[in-house]
Amino acid sequence: MADKVLMKGNEAIAEAAIIAGCKHYFGYPITPQTEIAAYMAKRMPKIGGVFLQAESEIAAINMVYGVAATGHRVMTSSSSPGISLKGEGLSYLAGADLPSLIVNVQRGGPGLGGIQPSQSDYFQATKGGAHGDFHMIVLAPASVQEMADLTVKGFELADKYRMTSMILADGTMGQMMEPVALDYEIAPAPEKPWATVGTKMAREHNIVNSLFLAPEELERVNFERYERYAAIKENETMYEEYMMEDADICVAAFGIAARVAKNAINEARKQGIKVGLIRPITLWPFPEAPFKKAADKVKAVVSVELSMGQMIEDIRLATECKVPVSLCNRAGGMIPSPEQVLEAIKAANNGGAK
C-alpha cells in the first residue's frame, strides 16, 4: 500500500495520468483547471514526455487527435467554455474511433459564466457534446482519490473501447486537497494495429478518418459504434449506493453534490427519516438499474445538482415516472448546503415532492 500524500484534485489527475502512461499533454489556460497544466509543465520534461501550451482549445484538442492517432496515451484538460471549443475535436475523435482522456473541471455557465464550481455541463458531457451520434464515457469523481482513480480508469476504458473518456469534475473537486494513495498496477495498453505510425513498408497504409461519403457505410460505422456503446452500458456502469437498503427516500447526486447530500442524509437518519443515496460514478453510461430498482421501493427521489436540473431528466427516464422526482439545486457557481438538501428530503418524505 503506497503512502498517502496530500494533493489538490487537479494535481491528483495530472499525476495519475502520468502513472497511467500518458506522456503527452496539450492545454490552454482556463480557471479552475490550470493546476493540471502547471503540473504537467513541470513534470513532463522530467519524464521524457511532452507538455505543450497550445494556441487555443481547438488546437489543443487537435494535437490530442494527432497523438491519439499514433496510439499513445494523451490528454487535455479544460473548463466549461474551453470544452465547448473542444467540441469539434470531440466529435472527430469519436468519428475516427480514437482513444483519449479529456478533463472538464466545470464552472458556472452559460457563456463566460463564472469561475465557481458547477455541474451544468452534464447535458454536454453525457448527450454527446458536439455534432453527430456519439457518446463519451463520463466519469464523475467525488473525492481527490477518485480524481486519480478515475483518471487511470478513464485511460483504460478509452483504449479498450477506442473512444474518449471524460472526467467530469467541478471547481471544488479540482481545488480541494485530500490525502491520496497513488497505488496502481497499470496493465499494458492494448495493441493498436490501426495507429498511424508509418507503414515501415510492411503493411497497407492506415487511415484515421471520420469521413464516409456513402451513407450506407456511414450508417454501418454508426451501428457498429453503438454496439460497442451497448457493451459499455452492460459492463462498465459504475455507481455507489449509500443506505439504500431500507430507504423510503432516494437522493441522487454525483461529485461534490453527493458529498453534501451524504451529510444531509446522515442528519435525516438521525431525525428518523429513512433516506439513502445513489451516486452515479459513470454519468454515461447512466446507472439506470439502481434507479429502476429504487423506483419500486422508495416514495420519492430527490436530485441534488449544481445546475438548473440536468441529471434529473435521466433519473426520470430510469424511474419511468413511477415515483415523483424533485430537484434540489443551486446554480451559477453556488453549492447547495446540507440544510437545503435536508429540507428537500423532508419535503419529499412528507409527500411534498411533485
Binding site: 503527452h24 496539450f26 511532452v50 505543450l52 497550445a54 494556441e55 487555443s56 481547438i58 488546437a59 489543443a60 487537435n62 494535437m63 490530442v64 487527435y65 494527432g66 497523438v67 491519439a68 492517432a69 499514433t70 499513445h72 494523451v74 469539434e88 475535436g89 472527430y92 475516427a96 498511424t196 505510425v197 508509418g198 507503414t199 515501415k200 513498408m201 510492411a202 497504409h205 492506415n206 487511415i207 484515421v208 478518418n209 471520420s210 469521413l211
Partner: protein, 251 residues
C-alpha cells in the same frame, strides 16, 4: 529505360479531382519526393477539409484526416509523439489561410518540424467556388458575384510574406505548377521542404499556386495561363525565408 512513371508512394486510385485540376500534379510531386528520400514507410500525411479532403486515399503512406483548418495542430501532435516520423500536411487556401490561420501561424512560430504543402488556387473548390482568403481583388466567385470588393471584404492574404515576418519558420517558398519549368521548381521546393524535416531543421511551407478550371470557369489550358497573367503578379514566386541559406550567407 523508364523516363517517367507513377511514383510508388502515389496510390493507384483514380483521383476525384476535376479534369485539369493541378492538385494531381502536386500529389505526384509529394509522392516523388517520398520515393526519392526513401521516407514513405515513416511518413504520416494529414489531409485537410476541402477539395483535397480525400488525399488520404491517394498516398500510400499512413494518413490522417483532420478537421477543417486543424491539420498543423494534428501534425504537431503526431510529430511530438513520433519524432522520427516525417509528417506533412496538405491544405488548401480556405483550410490553411482562413479557418486554420491560427494553427498555421502558431505551428510556424513554434518552428514545428513539419512540412506543409499549401495549395493556393484563390477559391473554395469543394463547396462550389466561393471567395477564399486568397481570392484576388475583383475576382468573381459565387460569394463575390460582382468581384471581390476590397472595401467590403478586405484584401487577399499573402501567406508566405506574412509568415516570413516570424522568427520561427525555417523555410517558406512560393511556387506554381502551371508549366513544365514551374513544376520542376515546385518539385525542388517540395523536396527541400521534406529534406529540411529529415535534417531536423523545422517548419517548412511550400505555397503552390494552383489552378481551379471548374470554379474559375475556364478551360484547363486557359486556367494555367491565368496563373501567369493574374495570380503570379499578385503572389510573386520565390523563396520568402530560408534560415539555413541566410546563415550560410552571413558566414
Amino acid at each position: 529505360m523508364v523516363v517517367f512513371d507513377k511514383p510508388n508512394a502515389l496510390a493507384d486510385a483514380s483521383m476525384h479531382y476535376c479534369p485539369g485540376c493541378t492538385h494531381g500534379i502536386v500529389h505526384r510531386l509529394v509522392a516523388e519526393v517520398m520515393d526519392e528520400l526513401g521516407i514513405e514507410g515513416r511518413t504520416i500525411g494529414i489531409a485537410p477539409v476541402g477539395c483535397s479532403v480525400m488525399a488520404y486515399n491517394y498516398f500510400n503512406c499512413d494518413m490522417i484526416e483532420a478537421a477543417h483548418g486543424r491539420a498543423p495542430a494534428v501534425a504537431t501532435g503526431v510529430k511530438r509523439a513520433e519524432p522520427d516520423s516525417i509528417v506533412f500536411t496538405y491544405q488548401g487556401d480556405g483550410d490553411l489561410a482562413s479557418i486554420g490561420m491560427a494553427e498555421t501561424v502558431h505551428s510556424a512560430a513554434r518552428n514545428e518540424n513539419i512540412t506543409i504543402i499549401f495549395i493556393n488556387n484563390a477559391i473554395y473548390g469543394m463547396t462550389g467556388g466561393q471567395m477564399a482568403p486568397t481570392t484576388l481583388p475583383g475576382q468573381v466567385t459565387q460569394t463575390s458575384p460582382y468581384g471581390r470588393d476590397v472595401n467590403h471584404c478586405g484584401f487577399p492574404i499573402k501567406v508566405c510574406e506574412m509568415l516570413s515576418e516570424l522568427d520561427g519558420p525555417e523555410y517558406l517558398e512560393r511556387v506554381a505548377v502551371n508549366n513544365v519549368k514551374n513544376v520542376k521548381n515546385a518539385k525542388k521546393a517540395i523536396k527541400k521542404a521534406f529534406q529540411n524535416q529529415v535534417d531536423g531543421k523545422g517548419f517548412s511551407l511550400v505555397e503552390v499556386i494552383s489552378s481551379c478550371p471548374t470554379n474559375w470557369g475556364m478551360t484547363p489550358k486557359k486556367a494555367l495561363e491565368w496563373i501567369d497573367e493574374k495570380m503570379i503578379p499578385y503572389y510573386p514566386l520565390g523563396v520568402y525565408k530560408d534560415r539555413t541559406a541566410a546563415k550560410e550567407e552571413t558566414k
